[in-house]
Structure formats: structure tokens, C-alpha cells
């Protein structure tokens, strides 16, 4: 048996744009296929919006459909439907009907509560990959939103639980990575954050990628630990910074949202601003108070 092999010259991956110019620039064009891209951030930073947007726009760039596995609450179908009615999406898809049609090529899958449930769900996805529902639109993007919730069992704890969790996370990663490389599709996984309790007391040598980032005035780091950090290829961190004085938070003007590239095999570390609105994640408008911009939190 000769294992499949190719030269680096022929190993290329496709790119799904987010169509937010600042983010695409930081990602060198967008999200790559054949990779796991992790988007982490506290609730309300725009993880789900970014995923929903990718679930729709990826259909244009990759020419396929999207499997959206959601593990908490409801699938963001409302968010997606609202997005497809906006001018931005109608223009991108070239017409009202086409934008609405994009919704039909997002297959929302609900996963049962625990980690094994999520693994079973992901194993089930292979059927859709082998024989697509719409033969003209094979699955080119899998979103798992979030990977954290199933692993946050309240009754878990202790070393055996941690070991079992690591095993399940690893199996899930292997499955997703195999899908990604065999079917040339992109995988986007969201992750929660945990507070950094003792900053500076963290293990030496891990570096700034594990120091955590400031979000909502406190320091946080991605959940699921070092083992999971080894599993993802690209880590993106979303943070939010509320303007001083809660009353000032009007629409999106009062919240500064940022995307940080923490690490990736093909990207340099970067930090870009973005805003959230009905038509999804987009570039932050040039700020009038540019002179008064707070220094960028480290990284």
C-alpha cells in the first residue's frame, strides 16, 4: 500500500471570506479549508454572528453548503434570516430569492447535551459528507457552536473526568480534521472563555498566547485547556470593551469589538476592530475620536 502523498506545491486550500475587510486582511483572505479554526470569546462578543455569517457567505466562496452543529440553546436561524434580508447579503448573493435560498443550504443540527452526544452527532455528519443532500452543493463548511458547552458538565471534575474529556476532545478533533482534509472543507469551532484567576502565576514558558486577553474589563483565556489548544490549527479570540458608563452603550457604537489572531500556522499575530449589526460582522467605521483610542490590550 502506498500512502497518499503530494508535494507541497500541489497542496492548496480554499478560502472562505468573512467579507469583513479588516478580519479578512488579518486572516490573509479568510478562513482556510483543511483546518480547524477556533473562535473563542465571552458571550456577546459576536462568535455566533461570525459563524452565522460564514455559514452563509462560505456558500459563495466554496460553492457548497454548511453543516451548523449547535450545542446550546437554539440554532441562530433568526440571526441568519435577518442577515439574508439585509442589503449586504442580497447584493452579495445577487438577488432576494438567492439570499433566501442560502438559508436552505445551512443544515442546522442540534447535538444532545453531553460530550458523547456531540461526538455521535459529528460521526453522523459523515453521511451528509459522502452523499450530499444537494449534489450541486457538497458540504464545504462545518460549524460547531460551541465545542465548550458539552464539556462543561456540572458533575464532572477530578482527574479521571479530565482524562476522559481529553480523550473525547481528541476523538472529536480527529474526526473533524479527517473531514476537513478528506473533503477539503473548513471547520469553525467556537469556544468559551474562563477568567484568569491568578495572572502571572500561570505556568512559565507558555507565553503570551496563554496570558489571556482583556475583555469586558477582566482577563480571560480560552476554555478547555492546553490539550485542546493543541488540537486547533488557528486560534482567534474575540473581545469586547464597553465604553465607560453603561448608558453610553448605544447600538454598537459604545462597544469596541476586537478580533485577535492568537496563533496560526500561516498568520502573524494581529488585532483588528469590527462592529456587529443586523447585517453581521463588518469593519469598524473610522472613529472620530481616533486620537482618544485606548491602547490596544497586549498581544
Amino acid at each position: 500500500m502506498r500512502p497518499p502523498n503530494a508535494t507541497a506545491a500541489s497542496a492548496t486550500c480554499s478560502i472562505a471570506r468573512t467579507r469583513c475587510d479588516a478580519i479578512d486582511a488579518a486572516l490573509r483572505g479568510g478562513v482556510r479549508t483543511r483546518q480547524i479554526t477556533e473562535v473563542c470569546g465571552e458571550s456577546g462578543t459576536g462568535k455566533t454572528h461570525l459563524c452565522a455569517q460564514l455559514a452563509l457567505f462560505a456558500q459563495l466562496d466554496l460553492g457548497g453548503s454548511t453543516v451548523y452543529v449547535h450545542t446550546e440553546g437554539r440554532a441562530p436561524t433568526d440571526v441568519m434570516r435577518r442577515m439574508t434580508t439585509t442589503r449586504r447579503f442580497v447584493e452579495a448573493f445577487g438577488g432576494d430569492a438567492r439570499a433566501r435560498g442560502a438559508l436552505e443550504r445551512v443544515y442546522a443540527v442540534k447535538s444532545l447535551g453531553d460530550a458523547d452526544g456531540l461526538r455521535e452527532t459529528l460521526e453522523g455528519v459523515s453521511a451528509v459528507l459522502r452523499s450530499p443532500i444537494d449534489v450541486r452543493a457538497p458540504v464545504r463548511l462545518i460549524v460547531v457552536d460551541s465545542a465548550t458547552a458539552p464539556f462543561r458538565d456540572a458533575d464532572g471534575g477530578g482527574a479521571t473526568y479530565a482524562a476522559r474529556r481529553a480523550g473525547t476532545l481528541h476523538k472529536m478533533t480527529m474526526l473533524l480534521k479527517e473531514y476537513a482534509s478528506v473533503h477539503d472543507l473548513a471547520v469553525v469551532v467556537t469556544n468559551h472563555v474562563v477568567d484568569v484567576v491568578q495572572a502571572g502565576e500561570c505556568v512559565g514558558g507558555l507565553g503570551r498566547a496563554f496570558m489571556g486577553l482583556d475583555t469586558s474589563g477582566r482577563r480571560a483565556q480560552p476554555a478547555l485547556g492546553l490539550m485542546w489548544a493543541n488540537c486547533v490549527n488557528t486560534r482567534l479570540f474575540l473581545t469586547r470593551h464597553d465604553a465607560r458608563g453603561r448608558g453610553a452603550v448605544v447600538a454598537c457604537g459604545g462597544v469596541r469589538r476586537r478580533l485577535h489572531v492568537v496563533y496560526a500556522p500561516h498568520l502573524r499575530e494581529a488585532t483588528v476592530d469590527f462592529v456587529l449589526s443586523d447585517d453581521g460582522v463588518r469593519d469598524a467605521p473610522a472613529r472620530d475620536d481616533a486620537a482618544g483610542v485606548e491602547p490596544i490590550p497586549n498581544l
Partner: protein, 363 residues
């Protein structure tokens, strides 16, 4: 006298007789032979006439044991264990002659004794984001450096278990290397060397470098083992391969096994395989390992390479990549010939480079 003139090859083996106790025999076999009165290998031919059945009858050994004893007597006398041995001076000469694959960070190359050595295993371990995959990409590209520039002028095999190899990143690094070599050529004052360099750079492009990096994507541990099994053959078919990278060994081995004893067995089998590829094909092998947090009895937890203590013996040279005050540091913790040493490195658009002291006007 000239011993070779009247030697009979059939009887040659016993002419230098060896004491029975010097032969590699099982104690039970040896004691039976001693009780039967055998003292040296000469006795074997005198009494047993080099026949296993006679020896068995005389000494009470089984036929099989007698056969083994005769074999040991033949080879024991010839010093079979020393066959193919070379003097340290020869080995040293060989080592000096071999070109090494550079990491393009001079400080790191220095602490590695000039770069990644062939015929051995170099392991890089570190946390996510510290630059393990970057290091692998860099050395794969560097391996193509033409001989005129002191390189190995070879191809590379990249075994990717994590899906982190990015062709576009390799393209960045390769383009930077081509540009760098062009500049070196332009700066060369010796006209003869310059012509040589110019000829070497003919047709040397980033695309050509990339077509010399052979990719194997392994989704699970079985695939990884299968690739390693056929790798020797692959290198025989592609004799220009000078470097093999496994990025990473840890990914599959850390979680695929419930049975830790089995994991150790397979892991050591795999490293034996890698070592034999490294030595028999004279290629450099680079492996990547992850790190894990180890709680300490006193003081805060520490980062240690994954896969345990016994695996630490698998590599010839071990380099730990980590962060120190916002700078990346490579720490050579294990090496057969070099002292433990540290080197700072950085990752630029063009790959791994030295940390440049900031010039005053930049600040």
C-alpha cells in the same frame, strides 16, 4: 608466517581458540558443556567433530541447543559483534563532512552545532503558537539550499498528523530563502564562487522548493505507522530526500491509547524505525512533541515535554521552544555533543530568524 596461505576455510574458525566462558551462551547450556568437559572452542571440533548431533550426545544438550552452541563458537571466535565497527576518528571525519540543515536563525544553529544533523533525530517541543510548525516548515525549505551555499541541496518529507502544514506559508519561507541567496550571490566578492552560486541559483525558485517537499497527511496512528513503514522505500525511490519531519508525534500518541504499556511499545518501535531510517539513509529526522503541565510538589507547575520519560531517550537532540519575557527561546536540553544552551529566535514573514537588536532610531 602468512596465516592465509594454508588455511582451510572449513576449519578456520577454531584456529584461534576461545574459552567456553567467553561465548555468548545461556548459563544452563554453558554449565552442561562444562560438566561434559568442554573447555574451549577447539574442544568442539576435536570431540564433537563440528557436528551438532555428536555435541548433543556428548553433553546432554538438545539438538537445537547444540546447534546454537556451535554457531556461537564459530562467530564468537571471529568477533562478529565488532563487524563493521569504525574508529572514532573515522566517525568524527564523517560527521564533519556532512552538511547540516540550517534553521536560518544563526544563534540557534550555533547551539545546535551548525544546524540539524543528519543520521540523527532532533526533537522540537513546545506549547501551541511557539513556532514548532514554523520551525519544521523552515528546515524543510532550508534543506533545499544548494551546495554552493553550504546547504544539503535536498528534498524533504513532511509527515503531517495535525493538518497544520500550510503550502502558502511554505511559499513565504521559500520565497524569502530564494531572495536571501540571491543577495548572498550579489555580495560575493570571489568571482569563481560567484559563478558557482549563480549556476546553482539557475532555476532555483520557490515553486521548485515546494515541489521538493513531499507531504504525507496521517489522520490516525495506524496511518502514521504505515507511512513510517514505507518511508525507507520512498526515500530509496527519492534519493534526494535529506530531511524527514514528523509534525507531530504527540498528537496521535497522546490520546489514541487506553493501554499505556501498548503505547510505550508502539512508540519505541516507531522511534527505532525512525532511527534506522535516519542512519541507514543518512537523512536528518525532525520530530515535534507537545508539552504538558506537570504539577510540582514544591512551587508552581512546570511545562514538560509530553509522552513521558522513556520517550525522552528516543531523540538524539532535544530542543524545547518556549517563551521568556515575550521573546521566543530555544533551549537545547539534550545533545550528545553540545552543552545545554539557549538561543533566542523570532518568527518573521520570511520564516525563523535571529532576534535583531533594535537600532536606536527604530525606537
Amino acid at each position: 608466517m602468512d596465516p592465509s596461505s594454508h588455511r582451510n576455510p572449513e576449519t578456520e574458525w577454531f584456529q584461534d581458540s576461545h574459552a567456553l566462558v567467553s561465548l555468548p551462551l545461556a548459563p544452563s547450556v554453558r554449565s552442561k558443556l562444562q560438566i561434559a568437559g568442554f573447555r574451549s572452542t577447539r574442544d568442539f571440533i576435536r570431540i564433537a567433530k563440528n557436528s551438532a548431533s555428536v555435541l548433543a550426545r556428548e553433553s546432554g544438550l538438545t539438538l537445537e541447543e547444540a546447534n546454537d552452541a556451535l554457531k556461537a563458537a564459530r562467530h564468537g571466535g571471529e568477533g562478529a559483534a565488532l563487524k563493521g565497527a569504525r574508529s572514532a576518528a573515522e566517525v568524527l571525519e564523517d560527521e564533519r563532512r556532512r552538511p547540516r540543515t540550517v534553521t536560518c536563525c544563526e544563534a540557534l544553529d550555533d547551539v545546535l552545532g551548525g544546524g540539524i544533523g543528519s543520521g540523527e533525530i532532533t526533537e522540537f517541543c513546545g506549547c501551541p503558537g511557539v513556532g514548532k510548525t514554523q520551525m519544521c516548515t523552515q528546515v524543510c525549505v532550508s534543506a533545499s539550499t544548494p551546495e554552493a551555499f553550504g546547504g544539503t541541496d535536498g528534498e524533504a518529507v513532511y509527515v503531517d498528523t495535525e493538518g497544520s502544514f500550510m503550502a502558502e506559508r511554505a511559499m513565504d519561507v521559500a520565497s524569502a530563502l530564494v531572495e536571501h541567496l540571491r543577495r548572498m550571490e550579489a555580495c560575493e566578492s570571489d568571482s569563481e564562487r560567484r559563478t558557482e552560486m549563480k549556476a546553482a541559483l539557475e532555476g532555483y525558485t520557490a515553486e521548485k522548493i515546494l515541489s521538493g517537499i513531499h507531504l504525507f497527511r496521517c489522520h490516525e496512528v495506524t496511518e502514521l505507522l504505515a507511512v513510517l513503514e514505507t518511508l525507507g522505500e520512498f526515500i530509496a525511490e527519492h534519493p534526494r530526500v535529506r530531511l524527514v519531519v514528523i509534525d507531530s508525534v504527540a498528537f496521535h500518541f497522546r490520546q489514541d491509547f487506553q493501554d499505556m504499556a501498548l503505547r510505550t511499545t508502539i512508540l519505541s518501535k516507531m522511534t527505532n524505525r525512525l532511527m534506522s531510517i535516519a542512519t541507514s539513509r543518512d537523512v536528518a529526522v525532525v520530530t515535534v512533541n507537545q508539552v504538558t503541565v506537570k504539577p510540582q510538589q514544591d512551587g508552581p507547575a512546570r511545562l514538560v515535554p509530553a509522552l513521558g520519560e522513556s520517550y525522552a531517550h528516543a531523540c538524539t537532540t532535544r530542543v524545547i521552544l518556549s517563551w521568556e519575557n515575550d521573546e521566543r527561546v530555544a533551549f537545547v536540553t539534550k545533545s550528545p555533543r553540545l552543552p545545554q544552551a539557549k538561543a533566542k529566535y523570532t518568527i518573521t514573514a520570511g520564516g525563523i530568524r535571529d532576534v535583531r537588536r533594535r537600532r536606536p532610531r527604530d525606537e
